[in-house]
Symmetry: C3
Subunit: 328 residues, 3 copies
């Protein structure tokens, strides 16, 4: 169904999910099963006090070639709360010092019997490349890949929409902002589309609007005020200054004025519309501070769901390893 290379690489011979590199190609049932398991893990701290031991004896290694404290901590807590051993490798400073190739680093972790490698990279291609070479018991989880893919973010966004707005078949969802550089938007598009969203709108300044071969099925807007009108969900994207070199972006104040999610703009959405942001926020740039902290914001719920979704993905992937081992 998918022509994406990563979508094929992440399946085992039986078609089970072996890695999670992209949401491309995941069926509706697969996504629903992951969301259901995440919902089970999305308990209050009190209920979490009896530690789950699903990943006891498993080792999760975080390899962040691009720094992200937020995502690293989310994966680290998810793994710890399932009883896994966790090691963090700062791939920016340490391991490239001695000139070792990335694949040798992966082989080393695999030989140390690491079970799940959580990878983040600013360049595209590494997770799928590595996935082709690892041993059968090793799983690759993509924690953010260039502008392409951030599958656990897509799942946590879907879980947040499902919790707060219910049936996707009745929803109009808007993804707005720097779509061109956004892995968050691409993974959310996969999730929302697969879950059967009634209408998906995307809005970006002209220079930040991806080509027509992407975000298929979405209605395109360059005018945010038109785009937001009547939607149930407003997902705004981080202005990623570090990715935007060369693009003809106006200054932050102008961006806020012409494209930021302000209270006035939000008033054009449905009355009970929710507002989402993947964080970290540039307050009063892509989103007004008052909106971020307002009653329609579900931004902190997204973070909570992030840990739960990562627990669900870790547990699912680890169980699929066992299934291959014992039933093949």
């Amino acid at each position: 169904m998918s022509t994406d290379h990563s979508a094929k690489v992440q399946r085992d011979a039986e078609g089970r999910l072996r890695h999670l590199i992209t949401l491309d190609g995941l069926s509706r049932d697969e996504i629903v099963a992951l969301l259901d398991l995440a919902q089970f893990y999305a308990r209050t701290p009190g209920e979490l006090a009896a530690r789950d031991q699903t990943l006891a004896g498993h080792t999760v290694a975080n390899l962040f070639f691009e720094p992200s404290t937020r995502t690293r901590v989310s994966f680290e807590l998810a793994a710890q709360r399932l009883g896994a051993d966790v090691v963090n490798l700062d791939m920016q400073s340490s391991s490239r010092v001695k000139g070792e190739t990335v694949l040798d680093t992966i082989y080393t972790l695999q030989a140390m019997q690491a079970d799940i490698l959580v990878m983040r990279d600013a360049e595209p291609g590494l997770p799928a490349y590595v996935a082709k070479y690892v041993a059968p018991h090793v799983c690759i989880l993509n924690a953010g890949e260039a502008h392409l893919s951030h599958p656990t973010q897509g799942l946590l966004d879907a879980l947040t929409v499902r919790q707060t707005k219910g049936d996707f078949a009745k929803l109009k969802i808007l993804i707005a902002g720097d779509l061109s550089h956004s892995r968050v938007a691409r993974s959310a598009w996969h999730a929302f589309t697969t879950l059967g969203v009634a209408e998906l709108r995307i809005a970006a300044p002209e220079d930040l609007m991806p080509g027509k071969d992407e975000f298929k099925g979405a209605t395109r807007f360059t005018d945010i005020d038109k785009a937001i009108s009547g939607v149930d969900v407003v997902m705004t994207l981080r202005i990623q200054r570090e990715r935007m070199s060369g693009a003809s972006i106006p200054d932050e104040a102008t961006y806020h004025h012409t494209f930021g999610i302000t209270a006035d703009r939000l008033a054009k959405a449905n009355k009970d519309a929710i507002v989402m942001h993947p964080g970290p926020m540039n307050r009063d740039v892509e989103i007004a501070s008052a909106v971020a902290d307002g009653p329609q914001s579900v931004i902190q719920r997204q973070v909570t769901n992030g840990v739960a979704v990562r627990m669900a993905v870790l547990a699912t992937i680890a169980r699929n390893v066992q299934a291959r081992r014992h039933f093949q």
Copy 2:
């Protein structure tokens, strides 16, 4: 009883300790209870072999805006030995890279269901500021705040005095050194005063002596040789070069000569006086190396007590969260 903003912020509606930001306002009973619990945790490694699970299912996040390996490791071990999950965030490099506000970082950790945030900062005000915004289940522990407060240090100093010298009502204690920049001295003053020390002396070079609105009840000395005469406890302070820019401090050799705790000076204290230092030491600057390693030194015991005190504070604060949850 206290007019300190932090002292009020750290209480819940019932008056229980919700955070620990300052020792200001803690009653004698509260401090004694913390010391008693710390004494329970101050066991030998052999006795610690059966792991306490008081904080199982809890998450402790270390947020150090000012680096301190020593204090971070002490809190990390305290949390681990109570069965907590621990994550470390190096706030100097990672999280401010993307321009997120501190409060958004806190909200993110809170949304990830972190229970206790251990914070250290070179600037004043952050712990009390943050404490006002966090959810009811989140606790802030101050691990060092500017020159103002270092409550677990004050408690470990009190525990060390209690273990080695007994009843505060019979003790003369001297705190000597760079009082002006010392959060250690301020928290020790709170602890010793509340516990009813017979006489508290403070000694500092004139430029490093705080104003009369601070260290109330203490006798002030600028001559260390007079100050040390007949005391039971000599607590010397680290010369913090990184904090002293602009102050008219002599070179290290002169400081040692005029204000360092040497064997000769120590001989003027009571025969069985103990010597304390919060570490890390500048040997042969504020303290003679022979004194630091001598029979009257309790410096390593302070470190041991540091872990025990932090276990006691973590356990107490976490229990107060449960109390609020179930009995309000």
Copy 3:
């Protein structure tokens, strides 16, 4: 039997191993016992799923004065898989900031009731120096010391040879490369010699060949093609550019041509010879990429054995502490 200072320092009064600083002076029986225990720990991830709790309640601190993600992670996983609490101290940046001496850092960790200190340093002497000062319950594990010693590497190399080639009394082993700067080679020489290897050859370019007072009993070669002829084990060493300033080393291509382990050269060894490398590899410098990934390579098995050997050493050293405590 040994005149090495470290060899004496690492024994307790009863002659038990108290620290592990060097393989010098370990008896054949002692090494065999460590390898046997390591073999017990060298299980598959599935079998590791029931977590060993040998080190529950113990604290392992990693102090890396020289960075090494690979070795740090190996020790960290070994400790975690035995149920220990683990803390990492980056000694390059953090603790020397405030000018504390190394010994004070050690005393601090000891006072925090750390049980095992894993140390790596680019300079010689620190582990043995520190070992003289620590309390009876604290053990020092050398994780790499200058060009001198890397005992767990020597043990993992011995385990790998034993697993794949069996009886040392029948084996010809070649260690080839930058011997002069190699702690790996020195520790391997200790292990292989003590285990009774039939013939040990060492080969290095003239400038990188150590003096005759080292590697006693080994046959020396400067011609790699002659050295490799008929051996059962080829252990090649990393070219450590960072250690070679001043040596008259040719460029990497020339080194590969004149001293690298290529397929052609390997063909001169015994048909079923194994190829070893301590990692991280400089591919196509000291070892041809095809050889590293070829059927005779046991390089990944070395990494797996590294974790197992470190588990065995941690468990053995910790048990010896208990033995001293209860039976002295």
